[in-house]
Symmetry: C2
Subunit: 553 residues, 2 copies
């Protein structure tokens, strides 16, 4: 009879889990020892827990199936918390296996003893369970997988005491049956259809799983047939886009601009999305962004089937056969000039983006123009910072690359963000993943300079400014990456960057390009920002100019 | 009238807090903007929250006063959790300021919204408070400082909503009055004295604050007068040691060896310490380590005054004027030979250790011989991994160096450990701290190879082994450090290492030496380990041989 760990691994495999991102310690040694008993399970070592959790997040975004993580007690879970937060906010399934002391050892309050369950609750409010008996461990594991994979997806945390893991008498279980989510009921569909037909300006806001092709197409048919506007949430978990797919305007990051985007919308219809709220609160500005006269209706909740609900709505509106607007193929030209800027980096990405790429966008202020320059590029997936906890991009890239070994992954990361989980580069090198990381080195927490102004903190002295400044010393990120085994280069001109990206894409494998750029926002006043900070998909320059006029006093 | 943040900073300064280790985001921008209003407060930017919290821990260990941290919501606190755990276990005062959304914004569940209090409770069980009103913020802050600084020290977490921070009407408060802790009451002192006088073998186990000179000296007088043995806890928060101070044998990490250390002890007397328990549980081995016949008495709890209690005990035993045994000055010779080993690194540290140094020991398996080789070195402070959450060493070094700018800090770190908070190197460079970091590169989680065997997981396949192996690629830590602005070198021979250390000590400032060594434990069988894994202070080779004989089957 297998021990607990062996039976647990068999049960995870039975449940369809094929990858475990690990950062183990002593209390997880039996799980580690059992890995070889489950040949179907790939174990990927990470040097920091935030890498493991972010990799599991990225993997599940691309496959729809959870990966497991293996974490070392409360401290390991704590280190993994920020990226689990991003997974939670993105409704992404993850199954955490958190080792703990043996059940009988807890009373002694040894050095690593802490209250794991309270930490887990922050990211796993729906499923935290400490297994108590080896014979029941696998049933607990099935419950964890079921919780993670049900709709909407979530982070489930199974705490595994060492004695439950090493105990004899494990009983492997078959995986859980996951019921497919129901589509919206007919009454809801008819009510939404009636509202659209009644006239007024309606918009559909797509989030979560509703940004995949099977939802985008019926949504675009409705838009074409009924003049409904389509929005995407600000930070998509995974959005399919590019030439041949419907273009979708993303709700902007800046509340000031969202108000403009929603200004003339009478009805906002939610599909696996929330009504837009401000990312942060600002003195004297509102948090809830639809205007007072805007009616908000839910077509499909995160627990329902977005494509099914949209297809039903299209039918109710007679839009099933409407011809959806699709993005035309278009690429920007090769960037020119002597000085590299964040905009030129984004332009080069659009210029060169290969077929079927996965873009991981954690470029923060430097990625402003990425959407515009890739809108007509070959079709690709876009993964973004769903929970706002920076340090997500490089780990997500690991998971995406392991999930889709035949697809190139391009991760665009801010310098500040990159340093939270820079250890990810080692795993990228070790697993020889096809990831090209582009790090924008502008030597600052650039976005915070904007935020400092936005929150109204205007009298800023040198100590305050120093908190946003990454000079002295300027990071040499290419060198750091090379120290972890990733082939790297630092570039300072548009030509150098474009050549480096061409070279990286021509040789699949780990690459890092450190792009030396000025802060994208330097010298801009807040009132000029909105037309830059929004997603510029489908937004012609004339609209941007109009927005700018509206905002300027 | 100041806003909340300005009044808060003034209150922290009034409370004696002089340093804030920061990693802010938007919700902390008013605190950042207010920094310049408090010239007494030094703000030290860290690129990752675990660096900020570990630095605050190291600072407080050396000054006895808390530093503040500035963290960004639940995710920032999560990233800082592991080193706050180490502070909690070390009874170290820390005051966390965790920014949160504005109170009225919480209802909208924006991207970064999470349940901060549950995360904080893991490390701040005694004080978690979310301030609600600007006018009461400073009273809340005084309560936080008071909680942190009272005896025993603890981590206090004050959650600061953005509107409480930016609101007008802050009222700065004077700092709290901290009552000095009482010494043990007379009845306790007399009872312990009577037990010692009654005969039998007694030992005093010193932990926490009882490892400073003012406790070590009365303890050593008692030892000299009454034949009592003195132990130190396994992982001292801060231990003063070296030539001219009483030598103290540390309780070993390995439970197998602790049993031997305590075998002939009839009474174990605790002073700011717990009775020894096993770090982890192991199948079939006991967790609580004093033998069944060992009586455990508490002379002084962590809430009491250790030096006062020990001085009273010395008086009760007539030992006030006894001559304590003090470590004689002794240094090992310069290490020789062609091949660098972890032992030779430790030997070189003992050979060269400057006066009044601070040693931060997170060398894990590579530091086995450090205690022995520095036992007679010039007097120094030793900081160790109190909570077992690795990634503590480099951040602790930052805090210690800022606390004691005139003292050299030498941090010995395992390669695996270093990567959890490698971002600390940037802050060391930026603040030009007098820190020499020595990283042992043995390309493995070496200690886990031992633990894998100890937990009885013996059938180990290639996937399991890969989880403990940091080859493929081997980290180039000197290069990584150079990328963060720290002058670095990689060495492979005893001469190279010793020369590099001499050079670093001769030029105060940031240095990193990457010591290429084989795993310290490779090829050893478990049964040979105990005499190596214990602290070898005062343990002559003959004793080690005896222990080895006792353990071998």
């Amino acid at each position: 009879m297998p021990n607990g760990a062996q039976a647990l691994l068999r049960t995870l495999v039975n449940s369809g889990i094929r990858v475990c991102f690990t950062n183990p310690g002593t209390s997880e040694m039996h799980f580690v020892a059992a890995l070889d008993s489950a040949p179907e399970m790939r174990a990927v070592l990470c040097l920091f827990e935030g890498v493991a959790t972010g990799a599991a997040d990225g993997y599940a975004r691309m496959t729809g199936m959870p990966a497991a993580t293996l974490l070392h007690l409360g401290c390991g879970l704590g280190n993994g918390l920020a990226n689990l937060h991003n997974a939670r906010k993105g409704k992404v399934p993850v199954v955490n296996i958190v080792g703990d002391h043996a059940t009988y050892h807890v009373q002694y309050d040894a050095q690593l003893q802490s209250d794991i369950e309270t930490v887990a609750r922050n990211v796993s409010p729906g499923f935290v369970w400490t297994s108590q008996v080896t014979s029941e461990l696998c049933r607990d594991a099935v419950a964890a997988v079921k919780a993670a994979c049900s709709w909407p997806g979530q982070v489930a945390t199974l705490i595994l005491p060492a004695d439950v893991s090493w105990g004899e008498g494990g009983v492997a279980e078959p995986g859980p049956v996951i019921e497919p989510p129901p589509a919206a009921d007919d009454a809801t569909v008819q009510a939404v259809a009636a509202t659209i037909k009644a006239g007024g300006r309606s918009a559909i806001l797509l989030g979560g799983t509703a940004l995949h092709e099977d939802s985008l197409l019926p949504a675009a048919r409705i838009a074409a047939a009924c003049g409904v506007k389509i929005f995407a949430e600000t930070f998509p978990t995974r959005m399919q886009r590019g030439a041949g797919l419907p273009p979708v305007e993303r709700i902007a990051y800046l509340a000031e601009m969202v108000s403009i985007q929603l200004k003339e919308i009478d009805t906002l219809i939610l599909v696996d999305a929330k009504a837009p709220v401000s990312f942060f609160a600002y003195p004297g500005k509102k948090s809830y962004l639809p205007h007072d006269g805007c009616r908000v209706m839910t077509l499909s909740t995160p627990a329902q089937c977005a494509p099914g609900s949209l297809t039903a709505l299209a039918a109710a509106l007679g839009a099933e056969t409407a011809t959806p607007l699709l993005s035309a193929p278009w690429r920007p030209g090769r960037p020119r000039g002597k000085k590299l800027t964040a905009e030129k980096v984004c332009k080069a990405v659009g210029h060169l983006l290969p077929e079927n790429a996965i873009i991981v966008d954690e470029a923060i202020s430097s990625g402003l123009m990425l959407s515009k320059f890739t809108a007509g590029a070959p079709r690709h997936d876009l993964i973004t910072l769903t929970g706002g906890a920076i340090g997500q991009g490089l780990p997500n890239a690991i998971g995406a690359a392991i999930a889709c070994p035949d697809r190139p992954v391009i991760a665009l990361i801010g310098d500040g963000s990159s340093m939270y989980t820079i250890q990810a580069l080692w795993t990228i090198a070790r697993e020889r993943l096809n990831v090209t990381a582009i790090i924008f080195n502008n030597a600052s927490y650039s976005v915070l300079n904007v935020e400092l102004e936005r929150v109204g903190a205007e009298e800023v002295g040198p100590k305050a400014k120093a908190q946003l400044d990454l000079h002295g010393p300027v990071l040499k990120l290419a060198q750091i990456a090379d120290g972890m085994g990733v082939r790297s280069t630092r570039v300072s001109t548009p030509d150098e960057f474009t050549n480096a990206l061409e070279g990286a894409l021509a040789r699949p494998g780990p690459h890092l390009i450190e792009a030396m750029v000025p802060p994208a926002l330097s010298g801009l006043k807040l009132k000029l920002l909105p037309h830059l900070l929004g997603s510029l998909d489908r937004m012609p320059l004339s609209v941007a100019r109009m927005l700018k006029r509206k905002i300027a006093p």
